[in-house]
């Protein structure tokens, strides 16, 4: 499994750090902390692609930035999911599963009908989901943590446990897959 982790200030993270710590030591997990690996935004495209090829499951974990992914993860989409590799002749990712793990500053009700974000959170999901689908990946139920700054430690710990259980299950399943 490849966990593409995009937090610009990993040591200042609360929610994402807690989630990452919950899964980090799982066997078969290749964590790729993009902002640590490529602080100059100089992605090693070949290395990233190799990591994807080796994985049966791709995880994208990040805080929500302007209803989207942080800039470096966007660049990662642009460069790593390249034509001839991920689409347009290349099918390197076809059949793999994709899990989106995202934290938001906004509370759940701020994504409600009368919330300040104007749309339910589900409406921000399609660009990410379609990115995975376009590359032939199977889209799994995302894990979303709302109100990332105010969520209680217990809640966060419980989400972390669920996250870990799902990845463990995927790994067991993935090893059995052809």
């Amino acid at each position: 499994m490849a966990l593409v982790y995009a937090h610009p200030y990993p040591d200042r993270s609360r929610a994402n750090r807690a989630l990452l710590e919950a899964v980090r030591d799982l066997p078969g997990l290749d964590v790729r902390p993009l902002f640590d690996l490529y602080p100059d935004y100089d992605l090693d495209v070949a290395a990233e692609q190799r990591a994807l090829v080796a994985a049966h499951t791709v995880v994208w974990q990040h805080p929500l930035h302007w209803y989207s992914v942080p800039g470096l993860l966007k660049l990662w989409f642009d460069q790593v999911l390249a034509r001839g590799f991920a689409y347009g002749g290349g099918r390197a990712l076809a059949g793999k599963r994709c899990l989106w793990v995202v934290t938001t500053g906004g509370e759940l009700d701020a994504y409600g009908p009368s919330g300040m974000h104007g749309h339910p959170f589900a409406e921000f999901e399609p660009p990410i989901r379609q990115t995975a689908r376009f590359c032939g990946m199977e889209w799994l139920e995302p894990i979303v943590v709302h109100g990332a700054h105010h969520v209680s430690d217990t809640e966060l710990a419980r989400t972390g446990e669920r996250y870990r259980a799902r990845l463990a299950a995927l790994e067991a399943e993935g090893g059995a897959r052809p």
């Binding site: 610009p8 200030y9 990993p10 040591d11 200042r12 993270s13 609360r14 902002f35 640590d36 690996l37 602080p39 100059d40 930035h65 500053g105 906004g106 509370e107 759940l108 009700d109 701020a110 994504y111 300040m116 339910p120 959170f121 589900a122 999901e125 989901r129 889209w139 799994l140 139920e141 995302p142 894990i143 979303v144 943590v145 709302h146 109100g147 990332a148 700054h149 105010h150 969520v151 209680s152 809640e155 966060l156 419980r158 989400t159 669920r162 259980a165 799902r166 299950a169």
Partner: protein, 649 residues
């Protein structure tokens, strides 16, 4: 050698006449010719030993052809073979047929008419190439066609000189001393000499020049260059071949060597002076008394020759592939008689092929035709001007052959710049003074040239006038500043990008107006600083952001200081203020980052959320968790309504 007084006469004559001629826009060549005519034996007779000057001046042509050869490598020369042999045969054949025919009609015996016709068909490489150079036409297609023909003429002159004694009408064979030894020996010697030139030029010169260049004594390198060219010329002379041709060949062999630009710029003054001397000696040979003795014949012969040759050349211009707009220009360029004609007429008179005054008259005609070329071109330009309504239209076709970017200094610094550019497919011309470095770089296929990069003439040779960007990457602070200053003056259009060794070097360059200056240690020190932050636990991305901010701050501070750089106390004050400022800035950066971590991206939302609920945790109705068998839907502290977030599968 010429006596000291003669030398003074030559120099004075050249300076005065060339000055006047160029002022009148007549070109330097005409100035030299007039100077020669004035000081020569048939006018003021100020020179005691003309023969000495004549011998030396021939080296002017030799050096010129060497320089031309340096501009052409073997591949280019091979590519020209059709225009040399095809075009050359056509031109020499047609011109000698017509001119020889006219002479025969005028009563010259057929043998004389044949020899003199061919001799008159030849043009003056010196005049034509100098004129092309003065008007920067060398690289135009017309210039190349003209040059190809001149090259063929130089080759054709060799059998022509052999033809004269063969046709001789006197029992005493002129030039008999050449014919010593069995007949097969001549061609054999010639072949041997040519092979020697190729071997010397191709394989021996570079290993010989390298240690000489490494001594760093400039005049020794110049001496070696002269030795090389004159040595080759002498060798060719011994083998009975054209000295100029040999020098040309040697030049071609060295065209792709790293010393090309250094050789060119070192030999340039000699070439110029000796060529000038050559034109002076041509001027000196003009026998004015002949005008008195045979006014009518000369009145017909001189303009007649020029008009006939010009007309034939104009007709040939189209089959030779000259651009329609430049056909007259081409014809005028090679319309004069050449240097070889003097030799041929001398031999032919001795061999009684040219009876009576024909020899001296033809010699005079050729000399005057040489003087006519600059005038013809002037007339042509005026006509062109009137027709086109604006100047220089005919020079539109100048090809740009040089690199867009020059790198001065190819040490540790310049190499990185250069390699990045090369890797990006940009052809840079690289100049450096360290022969060792050059040699190894050439092995990797770089276009590297040896020379003192701070010399403007070397930059000129390397194409500074045509380049867009000059990277100054030398490590000598003073030389770098001086070079930047003089390049700004001489080539105001050339953009300078410079390496600075330290802050004061940076300031000096910036104050000169150099737009792009990079301190050589700054970026790498910043990078190491980043790594140090990382080593102490700062995440890499944050370390980078700090470095980026530091860089911006530092450069802005430096730029602010530029205008009062010389004021030491102000500088210290400002530097201190700036460093306090930096501390504050770091503090602000840190706070900004802290805040974001604690308060989040939208404080408004957080505040609103807090207002809406009594607790921060907001543990309101978590969603019914899916069982392990089913993939669980988004689980968050606040819960996600399944309806709203369920992905449309």
């Amino acid at each position: 050698m010429t006596s000291a007084r003669d030398l003074l006469v030559y120099l004075a004559g050249a300076v005065v006449c060339v000055l006047v001629a160029t002022r009148l826009r007549l070109g330097a060549i005409l100035g030299y010719l007039v100077a020669g005519a004035l000081i020569g034996p048939f006018a003021l007779h100020l020179v005691s030993d003309e023969a000495a000057a004549k011998g030396v001046s021939e080296f002017g042509i030799v050096l010129m052809l060497f320089a031309i050869g340096l501009e052409l490598d073997v591949r280019q020369l091979w590519g020209m073979r059709r225009s040399v042999f095809g075009g050359g045969t056509l031109q020499v054949g047609a011109c000698s047929l017509v001119l020889g025919g006219v002479l025969f009609g005028a009563g010259v015996p057929w043998q004389g008419a044949l020899v003199a016709g061919i001799a008159l068909a030849l043009s003056s490489t010196a005049i034509a190439m100098r004129t092309l150079g003065e008007r920067s036409l060398e690289r135009t297609p017309t210039g190349r066609t003209a040059f190809a023909i001149l090259l063929f003429q130089d080759i054709a002159a060799i059998p022509l000189l052999a033809l004269v004694p063969a046709l001789s009408l006197t029992p005493v064979v002129a030039g008999a001393e050449h014919a010593a030894g069995p007949a097969w020996l001549g061609p054999l010697k010639a072949l041997g000499a040519l092979a020697a030139v190729v071997v010397v030029g191709r394989y021996l010169t570079r290993p010989i020049l390298r240690p000489i260049a490494a001594t760093g004594v400039r005049e020794v390198f110049t001496a070696a260059a002269l030795l090389l060219v004159l040595g080759v010329a002498e060798l060719m002379h011994l083998a009975g071949l054209s000295m100029a041709l040999g020098a040309f060949l040697a030049g071609v062999m060295l065209a792709s060597s790293e010393y090309r630009h250094a050789l060119e710029s070192d030999l340039e003054p000699f070439k110029g002076l000796l060529l000038g001397l050559f034109f002076i000696t041509v001027g000196m040979s003009i026998d004015f008394s002949l005008f008195l003795r045979r006014p009518l014949e000369l009145a017909a012969l001189v303009p007649g020759f020029i008009v006939v040759k010009l007309a034939v050349l104009r007709l040939l211009a189209r089959p030779l592939g000259v651009d329609a707009r430049q056909r007259w220009l081409f014809a005028a360029l090679v319309s004069q008689g050449g240097e070889f004609a003097f030799v041929v007429f001398g031999l032919a008179s001795e061999a009684a092929l040219l009876p009576g005054d024909w020899g001296p008259m033809l010699t005079l005609t050729v000399a005057l035709s040489m003087a006519s070329t600059p005038l013809l071109l002037l007339v042509l330009e005026r006509l062109e001007l009137r027709r086109a309504g604006q100047q220089k239209k005919i020079y539109d076709a100048i090809e740009d052959e040089g690199a867009k970017i020059l790198i001065a200094g190819f040490g540790r610094f310049g190499q990185i710049v250069g390699r990045l550019l090369f890797a990006s497919g940009l052809k840079a011309t690289v100049l450096d003074h360290d022969p060792e470095a050059i040699d190894s770089l050439r092995r990797f296929g770089f276009r590297v040239f040896y020379g003192d990069v701070t010399r403007l003439d070397l930059l000129d040779k390397a194409g500074a006038a045509r380049a867009q960007v000059l990277v100054i990457a030398i490590d000598d602070v003073e030389a770098g500043v001086a070079l930047a200053a003089s390049v700004q003056k001489e080539y105001p259009k050339l953009r300078i990008l410079a390496r600075a060794r330290n802050v004061s070097h940076y300031a000096e360059l910036r104050r000169l107006g150099v737009e792009v200056v990079e301190r050589e240690t700054f970026e790498s020190a910043l990078m190491l600083g980043r790594r140090a932050l990382e080593a102490l636990g700062c995440p890499p991305h944050e370390a980078r952001e700090r470095a980026v901010k530091f860089r911006r701050h530092n450069v802005r501070m430096l730029e602010d200081l530029l205008h009062e750089w010389d004021d030491m106390t102000r500088r210290v004050q400002r530097a201190r203020a700036a460093s306090d400022d930096l501390e504050q800035q770091f503090e602000r950066d840190r706070q900004a980052l802290e805040e974001r971590g604690v308060q989040g991206w939208h404080m408004q939302d957080a505040a609103a959320a807090r207002a809406a609920a009594p607790t921060d945790d907001r543990a309101s109705s978590p969603p019914p968790d899916a069982t392990g068998a089913q993939p669980s839907r988004a689980s968050s502290a606040s819960g996600v309504p399944p309806a709203g977030n369920a992905p449309a599968k």
